[in-house]
C-alpha cells in the first residue's frame, strides 16, 4: 500500500480531532469512526490495479494537499452569484463541509420531519444515530467510504416519522469555497424514512474558486415499509473538483426509492450508488445523466442487490461525452437465491460527440435465483446522421441540430426530476453545456 501525502495528513488529522474530544470519544459512533480509520489506514487509496478503480485514477487527487473544513468568509452575496432560482422548501447550506445556519431555512414542521446536522444528531439523538448509522454502508472495501466514516461529523441527519408525507422538499447545497486554497469536505448524511412516509431530497454540489476541491460524500438512506423516497444528486463543480460520493440505500418491503444522479460538471467524479432491496414488492429506480467535456472524467458505479422475492429494479443512465472526456459505467445487479420473481432492467446509453472522448461500460449481473427477469443493454454511438441532415434540410445549422438532438437525448432523464426549481436549474445548466463548444 502506498502511503500518500493525503493519507498521512488525514491520519494525523484524525488523531488531533480525537484528542480534542471529551465524552464523545467513548460513544458508539466514535468507535465506528475508529474502526473505519483503521480500515482506511490498511486499505490506502485505491490504484488502477484495483478492479473497481480500473478506469478511474485518483493519483492526482491523493498527491495533493487539502485543507479540510476550511473556515471561509463565504457570504449571502457570494451565494447570490450562484443561485438556483425559485428554490423552495427546506434548504440547508454547507460551506466547505460546515453547516451554515444563517443561510439555511427549515420550513417543514417538527411533526413532519426532524432535520439537524449530523454532529448535533450524534450528540443529542445518539440513540437514533446509533440505530441506523453505518448499518448498510460498507467501508470494508472502499477506502473513501472508510475515510468518510472515520470523519463522520458534518452533514445532515433527517428523520421522517411513520405516516408522514413531507410536503416541502429537502434541498442540501454543498458548496466548496476554493477561492483561496485547496479545500476538502466530507459530508455524511443519514436519512431515515418511516413507514408509509414520503419525502424528496436533493443534494446539490457546487464549487467556487480556482483552487482544487475535494468532496468525499457518503449518504445513507434507510427506507421503511411502503415509504416512497425521491433522491436527487446534482453535481455542478469546477474542472478542478474531485468528487467521490457513495449513496447507500436499504429498502424495506413495498417501498419505492428513486435516485436521479446528474453530473453537469466536475473534473473527476466517481459516484457509487448501492441499493439493497431487503423486502418484497419493493421498487428501486436509478436514473443518471453525465455530460463531461474537456478532460473531465465521470464514473458511475451502481449496484442493486435483490435479497428478497417479488421486487423490481429499473435503471437508465445516459452519457454525452465531448472533448477528451472519459466516462465509466459499471452496473451490478445481484439477485440472491431467495429473490425469485425479481424483475431487473438496466440500460446505459451514450453519445460520443468527439473522436477523442471515450466510454467504458460494464454491466455485471449475478443471478442465483432461477425464476427472474433480468435484462441489460449498453450502447455507445454518435448522433444520427439522417436526423442531422433532416434538420439541416429545414434550415437548422449543423451545430444547432447537434445541440437539439443531444438535448433531446438527455431530456427523458431531466424530465424525471419532480422538484421544479431543481429541474429548471438542471435544464439550464445542461442546455448551456450542450451548446458550449
Amino acid at each position: 500500500m502506498n502511503n500518500t501525502d493525503l493519507k498521512t495528513q488525514l491520519i494525523a488529522d484524525f488523531k488531533t480531532a480525537e484528542g480534542r474530544m471529551n465524552g464523545e470519544a467513548k460513544s458508539a459512533v466514535h468507535q465506528i469512526r475508529q474502526q473505519a480509520l483503521e480500515r482506511f489506514d490498511k486499505l490506502g487509496f485505491p490504484t488502477i490495479r484495483h478492479e473497481e478503480w480500473k478506469y478511474s485514477n485518483v493519483k492526482n487527487l491523493v498527491n495533493q494537499a487539502f485543507e479540510f473544513n476550511a473556515v471561509t468568509n463565504f457570504s449571502a452575496e457570494d451565494l447570490a452569484e450562484m443561485p438556483i432560482p425559485n428554490l423552495e422548501g427546506n434548504i440547508l447550506y454547507f460551506i466547505n463541509g460546515i453547516y451554515n445556519a444563517e443561510l439555511s431555512t427549515i420550513v417543514s414542521p417538527d411533526s413532519e420531519l426532524q432535520i439537524m446536522t449530523f454532529a448535533e444528531a450524534a450528540k443529542n439523538h445518539a440513540d437514533l444515530v446509533e440505530q441506523y448509522f453505518n448499518k448498510y454502508t460498507d467501508y470494508q472495501d472502499n477506502a473513501f467510504t472508510a475515510l468518510n466514516t472515520a470523519f463522520a461529523q458534518n452533514g445532515v441527519f433527517v428523520h421522517v416519522p411513520d405516516n408522514k408525507v413531507v410536503e416541502q422538499p429537502i434541498i442540501i447545497r454543498f458548496i466548496n469555497d476554493a477561492r483561496t486554497l485547496n479545500v476538502a469536505s466530507q459530508p455524511r448524511n443519514l436519512i431515515v424514512v418511516g413507514k408509509r412516509s414520503e419525502v424528496q431530497i436533493a443534494e446539490a454540489f457546487r464549487t467556487i474558486g480556482d483552487n482544487a476541491s475535494f468532496t468525499n460524500a457518503v449518504t445513507e438512506f434507510v427506507v421503511a415499509e411502503e415509504a416512497n423516497v425521491h433522491y436527487y444528486k446534482v453535481q455542478n463543480e469546477s474542472d478542478k473538483a474531485y468528487h467521490v460520493g457513495t449513496t447507500s440505500v436499504l429498502q424495506a418491503g413495498k417501498s419505492v426509492f428513486t435516485a436521479n444522479t446528474v453530473t453537469a460538471n466536475g473534473g473527476f467524479v466517481r459516484n457509487n450508488l448501492n441499493i439493497k432491496i431487503d423486502g418484497e414488492y419493493a421498487e428501486a429506480n436509478m436514473f443518471g445523466l453525465y455530460i463531461p467535456n474537456g478532460k473531465q472524467h465521470v464514473d458511475n458505479h451502481t449496484a442493486v442487490d435483490h435479497a428478497k422475492p417479488n421486487s423490481n429494479s429499473n435503471e437508465l443512465y445516459k452519457g454525452i461525452l465531448k472533448g477528451k472526456s472519459t466516462g465509466v459505467f459499471n452496473g451490478k445487479i445481484f439477485v440472491r437465491e431467495d429473490a425469485q420473481k425479481t424483475n431487473a432492467f438496466q440500460s446505459c446509453k451514450n453519445v460520443l460527440l468527439s473522436e477523442d472522448a471515450s466510454m467504458n461500460t460494464k454491466p455485471q449481473l449475478e443471478i442465483w435465483a432461477d425464476d427472474v427477469k433480468c435484462s441489460h443493454g449498453t450502447t455507445t454511438g454518435q448522433l444520427n446522421d439522417d436526423a442531422l441532415f433532416y434538420m439541416q434540410a429545414r434550415g437548422i445549422s449543423k451545430d444547432t441540430a447537434r445541440a437539439l438532438l443531444t438535448l433531446a437525448f438527455a431530456q427523458d432523464v431531466i424530465d424525471k426530476f419532480e422538484i421544479t426549481s431543481i429541474k429548471e436549474y438542471l435544464q439550464e445548466l445542461i442546455t448551456e453545456k450542450i451548446y458550449q463548444d
Partner: protein, 252 residues
C-alpha cells in the same frame, strides 16, 4: 429559378447521375418519373445537399447562386425545400419546437428578426388549416410513431411553414392511400403560386392526377432522356418504360 447543367454525382464508386440537365422556372410544376434505380432520389438528395453523395461534375444554379457551394441549411434558407421520401423520426424534439428553431435560423440567415411566440402561434394556426393537420400531432416528438400518412402530411405542413421558392417532393405518394394522397396534394396545390416552383418526383402517375404538372421528364440511367407534357405521364402509366428504352436504342 433552377438550372441544372450536366450534373454528375456518385455514391461511393457508383456513378448515379451522368450528366443531367433540367431547367425550372417560377410558377412551374415539373414531374420527374423513371424506373427504379434511375437516380430520382439521388437528384433530390444532391439538390438538398446530402453529403453521402459526391458531385463529380456539372453545375446547379438557383436564383443566380451556385447551389452546390452551399451547406444544406443555407440551401433551405435560400428557399429550397425537400419533402423526404422517408421522414426521419426524431425522439425528444416536438414538431413545433423543431419548426420554431428552423424558422428563426432561416430568418437569422436572411437578416430578419426572430419571430416571437405569439407570431409563431398565429402563423402556425394559418398553416395548419392548409394541410388540415391537428395540433396534437405537432406537440408530439417529430415523426415518432407517426403513420405513413401523418409523416407525409407533416412534411407538407413544414413546407407550408417554411414557404420555399422551390419544393422538391421525393416520392411523397409512396405509402399513402388515396385519401391521404388527396389531402397531401391539396396542400401542395394551395401552396402553389406564380413565385414558387415544384418538382414532383414519383414512380406512379396517380399523384399527377392531383398535382397537375406543366412538364413531365423521364429520368433513366442518370439522365433526363425524354420530356413532355402531362400526357407523357399517362403514356408511361399505360405502356411502362420499355418503349423509352427502345427509343434509346436499347434492346429490351
Amino acid at each position: 429559378m433552377l438550372k441544372i447543367s450536366n450534373l454528375q454525382a456518385k455514391i461511393g464508386d457508383k456513378e448515379i447521375l451522368k450528366g443531367l440537365n433540367l431547367e425550372v422556372k417560377a410558377g412551374e410544376v415539373h414531374a420527374i418519373m423513371g424506373p427504379n434505380g434511375a437516380g430520382k432520389s439521388t437528384l433530390a438528395s444532391v439538390l438538398a445537399g446530402r453529403e453521402t453523395y459526391e458531385v463529380t461534375g456539372g453545375s446547379v444554379e438557383f436564383d443566380g447562386k451556385d447551389l452546390l457551394e452551399l451547406a444544406p441549411e443555407e440551401r433551405a434558407a435560400e428557399g429550397v425545400f425537400l419533402a423526404f421520401q422517408y421522414p426521419v423520426e426524431i425522439p425528444g424534439v416536438s414538431t413545433t419546437n423543431f419548426l420554431k428553431t428552423a424558422v428563426n435560423e432561416i430568418r437569422k440567415y436572411r437578416g430578419e428578426e426572430a419571430m416571437d411566440a405569439v407570431q409563431f402561434l398565429k402563423m402556425f394556426k394559418e398553416k395548419m388549416k392548409i394541410v388540415n393537420i391537428d395540433q396534437s400531432l405537432l406537440n408530439r416528438a417529430l415523426n415518432e410513431g407517426f403513420s405513413g400518412g401523418e409523416k407525409k402530411r407533416n412534411e407538407i405542413f413544414q413546407m407550408a411553414v417554411l414557404n420555399p421558392k422551390l419544393a422538391i417532393l421525393d416520392e411523397t405518394d409512396s405509402g399513402l392511400d388515396i385519401d391521404a394522397l388527396r389531402i397531401v396534394a391539396e396542400g401542395v396545390n394551395k401552396l402553389k403560386s406564380p413565385d414558387n416552383a415544384t418538382i414532383v418526383i414519383t414512380h406512379y402517375q396517380r399523384l399527377l392526377d392531383f398535382i397537375v404538372p406543366d412538364f413531365v421528364h423521364v429520368l433513366y440511367k442518370g439522365r433526363i432522356v425524354k420530356s413532355g407534357t402531362k400526357d407523357l405521364a399517362l403514356e408511361l402509366e399505360e405502356r411502362g418504360y420499355d418503349w423509352i428504352k427502345e427509343e434509346l436504342g436499347e434492346t429490351v
